[in-house]
Amino acid sequence: MSNKTDSNSYTIIFAIVMVIVVGSLLAFTASSLKPNIKENERMEKQQNILYAMGVNENEEGSITFISTEKVAEAFSTKISEQIVLEVKDGKILKEMNRDEFMAANNNKEPYLIDIKKQQTRAKNGKSRFLPLFKGQQEGNTVYVAPIRGNGLWDAIWGYVALDTDMIIKGVFFDHAGETPGLGANIKQRYFMDDFYGEKLLTEAGVFKGITVAKGNNDPKNEDKDDYEVDALAGATITGDGVSAMIKKDLKLYLPYFKNLKK
């Protein structure tokens, strides 16, 4: 290597030029692809919500969302109402339908509400929005609620379809970076399907939630009254994260479901 490339001034100039070139290259890539990425993320949210409700193209053992061509139409026909609850300290301050919410929030669709931001608001003692998507499943009304929590490495989230008694009628889980083959299996059909039919409330109507439990002697998950779902091997922390987000986030909806019963 020549002496020229070893001098301090060359090193500094090289560093500056490189930072500018790489920085603008990345900024250009990110901003030119942003509309496409946003659109993909929007469709994915719709697919996830519909999946939890049971609107999907699953075959034996697989997870297949409704296709991206059909999702917009299915979302507008299958979801009869998008409800947004404004809650604080476990009390519902306000209940809005889609139009009311969009009028008050820059025309933002309720299903695009960022759950992470809302959780931060609640943590800071402010009121938060809880979206809820109403639809039909086999002639019964179901409500899909989003949940979000932490797994082992990164965020995990999901959508849970509940009937009016808060019995689970379908779930969808996803994760940002759980270990493939271990925690990432919360996204597998055999794990998600176990939640179907599980109850969140006790006989007396108290919120109990569901625990992802090791060794519950029910690997086929036939007992739907045990408030437990069989855990995944080697994914204890991710499983605990799933239990925690179900208990914490779905409990917030309890006042709404209690009002429905009245």
Partner: protein, 214 residues
């Protein structure tokens, strides 16, 4: 191999066996432990590293005469990080499903020591074509070990290959499970990958005594 001279061909074949990045150079062990619990993840990671190492080696090789030696490690890191980010963004925009599968690996690729190791040891001192071959060769050598480890871990740990059950149904007790066979959940834990890599090293060195160091 009419296309390649003997010397060039060696750049590809050497890392597959006698100079394997994982078993001989002992690079890239961390990701080999993290993602080999299933075969599909091993394959995806192998392909991702193949791409990044092939392109990255060429980029570094082209820049080798202008990179200041004092900050060369940082320059290498920036090249690999930007490559990975650009690929990730493009996939997110045009192949969203695939990018979901890959998202876990993005961080692992950037920190993969094979990549930095080959930049430093080869691309900085050789021309672009040779560096490209070296990158492809080392990535293939890495992928081979990943696939072997993934094969055993998924087969013995979950009884599946690429997610398809091959030994029967462990809950319904069909196939091999009818004889009382059980999946070894321990195989899904990262330490077992280390043991399998150790076994591969043992087999390889007992067949080729020249590889044994003092």
């Amino acid at each position: 191999m009419g296309l390649l001279s003997k010397k060039d061909a060696k750049l590809i074949t050497d890392p597959l066996a006698d100079n394997n990045p994982i078993t001989i150079q002992v690079l890239g062990i961390c990701s080999a432990l993290a993602i080999t619990a299933e075969l599909k993840a091993s394959l995806v990671m192998g392909i991702a590293v193949l791409f990044v190492l092939g392109v990255g080696n060429v980029v570094i090789s082209l820049m080798r005469n202008i990179i200041p030696s004092k900050i060369r490690i940082i320059v290498q890191l920036i090249v690999v990080a930007s490559l990975v980010i650009i690929v990730d963004q493009v996939l997110k925009a045009f192949a969203y499903e695939l990018s979901k599968t890959l998202s876990v690996f993005i961080g692992l690729i950037i920190t993969n020591c094979i990549i930095m190791g080959r930049f430093e040891a080869f691309a900085l001192g050789n021309g672009p074509w040779k560096s490209f071959l070296d990158g492809i060769g080392n990535a293939l050598g890495y992928a081979v070990i990943l696939l072997i480890v993934g094969f055993f871990r998924e087969l013995l740990g979950s009884g599946t290959l690429f997610g398809i059950p091959v030994l029967g149904d462990p809950i319904e007790k069909t196939g091999l499970y009818a004889t009382g066979y059980e999946n070894n959940g321990f195989m899904l834990m990262p330490p077992m990958a280390l043991i399998i890599v150790g076994l591969i090293i043992w087999v390889q060195r007992s067949r080729n005594k020249a590889l044994i160091e003092d």
